[in-house]
């Protein structure tokens, strides 16, 4: 935002002030994310910079909290770091288990949300779709309705899923979905679906329909047209939608708290417990790892967005 040549001194001063204000706001946005990184290497169990850290003394820094992520919950954390030690960590360490659960739940809920969401986005973007406004509003509502309400509703529902069928359901109910992986996966898929729909419909809105007509006029069946023409062009949107869905699941804690049990301990749930009970700097080590993961995700989404623009022939200015 270059100043016009006719700007008065007062305007120049205001211009500088405005830039200074923006710098402060960017600092406000970034500082909390960056501050955890150096603190996670603290040698002391404190959440603040020690004198040694400020003096950049190597003795003030250590990897002990990262080490604790592996050893916490292990049966024999002391021994030699051989294959048996790593097998122990893989099977018993709390944070490792939590990471496994997060990935399993995130993976399946992403698959479910992406498949159903992409199909629905294809239908919603067709001009002849009946009742589009209402259906879109329903499909996007899981993003708007407070998660606590969703979790409360799901808790009642999962305690006796067949009650939804009313008198048609089997006598005495049909088991429960609380404390099951399936239950958490279904719930996370529901929460991720709006993101898939938004990103895929955005990509489809700029999709040139004459391409599918051209394919059809050359004799391709609708299915073949979809896989050969449409899908390759909307793939970037689908992949970013999937990433959004994955992050939604990977970061979700309320539903897991309400309907999951210790079996379904995910990283956010473990963090939640850690923060509420005994907050130790290993939380900061996890936070640092998660910040790095989100930087990776952001990079992928940004690259995909540029690729999608290139595919569609939108040249970045």
């Amino acid at each position: 935002m270059a100043l016009p040549i006719y700007a008065s001194p007062l305007e120049r001063l205001w211009h500088r002030t405005r830039i200074a204000i923006c710098v402060v706001i960017f600092l406000f946005l970034m500082a909390p994310i960056l501050i955890v990184i150096p603190l996670s290497f603290n040698v002391e169990p404190y959440f603040t910079f020690t004198a040694k850290m400020l003096a950049l003394d190597p003795d003030g820094y250590s990897l002990r909290w990262y080490d604790q992520l592996l050893t916490l919950g292990m049966q024999a954390p002391e021994g030699e770091r051989d294959s048996a030690w790593w097998a122990d960590a893989w099977a018993n360490a709390q944070w490792v288990k939590a990471a496994q659960n997060s990935v399993i739940i995130g993976f399946w809920s992403t698959i479910l949300a992406t498949l159903l969401g992409t199909l629905a986005a294809l239908g919603l973007s067709r001009p002849e779709m009946p009742g589009r406004k209402l259906i879109t509003a329903i499909l996007l509502s899981p993003m708007i309705v407070p998660v606590i309400i969703t979790a409360t509703g799901l808790f009642f529902f999962y305690s006796n899923p067949c009650s939804i069928l009313g008198p048609l359901g089997p006598e005495g109910g049909c088991g429960r979905l609380t404390s099951t992986y399936i239950g958490v996966i279904l719930a996370h898929a529901t929460l991720g679906i709006p993101f898939v729909i938004i990103t895929v419909t955005a990509t489809l809105s700029s999709f040139d329909r004459s391409l599918t007509r051209a394919a059809a006029s050359l004799g391709a069946s609708p299915v073949r047209t979809f896989f050969k023409v449409q899908l390759p062009l909307i793939t970037p949107g689908v992949v970013s939608g999937a990433l959004f869905a994955f992050v939604t699941s990977f970061d979700e804690v309320v539903v897991v708290l309400f309907i999951g049990s210790h079996e379904q301990q995910t990283i956010p749930r473990q963090m939640w417990n850690g923060i509420r009970e005994q907050i130790s700097p290993s939380i900061l080590a996890v936070a640092t790892i998660l910040v790095i993961v989100s930087i990776a995700m952001l990079t992928v989404v940004e690259l995909l967005r540029r690729r999608s623009e290139r595919l569609r022939g939108v040249t970045p200015q």
């Binding site: 935002m1 706001i25 294809l122 002849e128 899981p142 309705v145 509703g153 009642f156 939804i164």
Partner: protein, 411 residues
């Protein structure tokens, strides 16, 4: 009379076109149908079920059938038949071990009565006529007319009592609706507080987002893309990570307080409590929701041609007038979209207030969680959730009317 146009196979063109359009409609619908069914089953129906639960609780009527039947048939005060029904129901509930459920249900309306039911049920197997005397011998509280009034109310499985409780109201012994005693009025205040806090957070977000969005929209693409990452990274970072970071920054032995002590701004014993109160909730939630304000503002500001402002200046407007009369009105759609979105998200927030809010920074969601997990008054939790849901849906509808739900964008 013109000839009817037909297709090659001889059908009227109009009918053939209608059939084709109907087919296209059906195709589009079948693509959406699986997801619609999925969302209806795993989201809409559970919430509907929750709404039913907020007005339905058969904790009393299901386990006290005789007394429930007596209440339905007799409008007056308790007679011998009523005492007999009560005694026999208590005997049954002692056998079925349901007296706790019944007592809990009555206890929601009249506190201190749960133990009356459980302790009487333990003695119930010795009850013999005359039942009134037997019950009064077990506990003289059974003669309390207020108790009988409450039992009459809770014998109806469907009632609005939980909604009354959620609005700090209750029915007295005659069934008239009255306010609960002053020291027990929590929910209305909490709803008001939630809305005020959400409003404050929305306003701070707007004030912080406006200059940043303007900077991003007016910088050359190369620079704005780079700075955009600084907005998007917090957006992609885990909520718990950001909340944890704020705890690290804000606590009394935390980074900000330490820096201020080191700089001599405050003394060692003058450390400011920025966490476990409303300030903590406002700061952390503003940070978390800020990207949701910047992104819609940015996408609107990007489309405003700079020539309007130049034209205004060339016609003699000062820079302040240009901003107020030309630029600001054009950004109103972005302000509306961002503010509504941030407000909707803030009203239902749970995690951040629970972790950094302390006692005074709690929102309505935290109370719903409390009733779900600790007090186990699920019907009241459902009623509170239903009220919150209704408020959010009104805002959602408003968002759809003003901005259009299909204009929701991410990043």
């Amino acid at each position: 009379m013109a000839e009817i146009l037909t297709t090659a196979d001889g059908r009227p063109l109009k009918a053939a076109l209608q059939a084709a359009q109907a087919r296209a409609k059906r195709r589009a619908f079948w693509l959406v149908a699986p997801l619609l069914l999925f969302v209806l089953l795993t989201f809409v129906a559970p919430i509907g079920q929750m709404l039913v639960r907020s007005a339905h609780n058969d904790g009393f009527s299901a386990h006290m059938p005789r007394l429930t039947a007596w209440f339905a048939a007799n409008p007056g005060a308790a007679d011998d038949a009523a005492w007999e029904a009560l005694a026999l129901d208590l005997q049954d509930s002692a056998v079925a071990k349901t007296s706790g459920i019944v007592g809990t249900r009555v206890n929601y309306e009249l506190s201190g009565t749960r133990s009356l039911f459980t302790s009487t049920a333990r003695k119930a197997k010795d009850f013999a006529p005359p039942y009134r005397e037997a019950l009064l011998k077990a506990d003289k509280d059974w003669d309390d007319p207020a108790l009988w009034g409450v039992m009459r109310q809770v014998s109806q499985a469907y009632s609005g009592n939980f909604f009354l409780a959620a609005a700090d109201l209750a029915r007295d012994a005659d069934g008239t609706i009255v306010q609960v005693p002053e020291d027990r009025r929590v929910y209305v205040n909490l709803f008001v507080k939630t809305f005020v806090l959400a409003g404050v957070i929305t306003l701070t977000c707007l004030i912080l987002a406006y200059p940043v969005a303007h900077l991003l929209a007016t910088l050359p693409m190369r620079w704005s893309n780079l700075l955009m990452i600084l907005v998007l990274l917090p957006f992609w970072t885990s909520l718990l990570v950001r909340t944890t970071s704020w705890m690290v920054l804000l606590q009394q032995q935390g980074v900000i307080n330490n820096m201020m002590v080191a700089a001599g701004i405050i003394g060692e014993d003058g450390r400011i409590a920025m966490m476990y109160n409303q300030t903590g909730t406002i700061i952390a939630m503003t940070h978390i929701l800020l990207p949701f304000m910047i992104l819609p503002l940015y996408s609107v500001m990007k489309t405003i041609p700079p020539s309007y402002a130049r034209a205004a200046r060339s016609l003699g407007a000062t820079s302040w007038t240009t901003f107020r009369r030309i630029y600001l009105p054009q950004t109103l759609p972005g302000i509306g979209a961002g503010s509504l979105l941030v407000f909707i998200l803030a009203v239902g927030y749970y995690i951040t207030p629970a972790l950094v809010g302390g006692a005074s920074g709690q929102l309505i969601s935290n109370l719903i969680a409390f009733h779900m997990q600790d007090s186990l008054n699920w019907s009241l939790a459902a009623a509170l959730a239903a009220i919150l849901l209704a408020l959010v849906l009104v805002l959602y509808w408003l968002y759809d009317r003003l901005i259009g739900i299909d204009n929701l964008k991410l990043g």
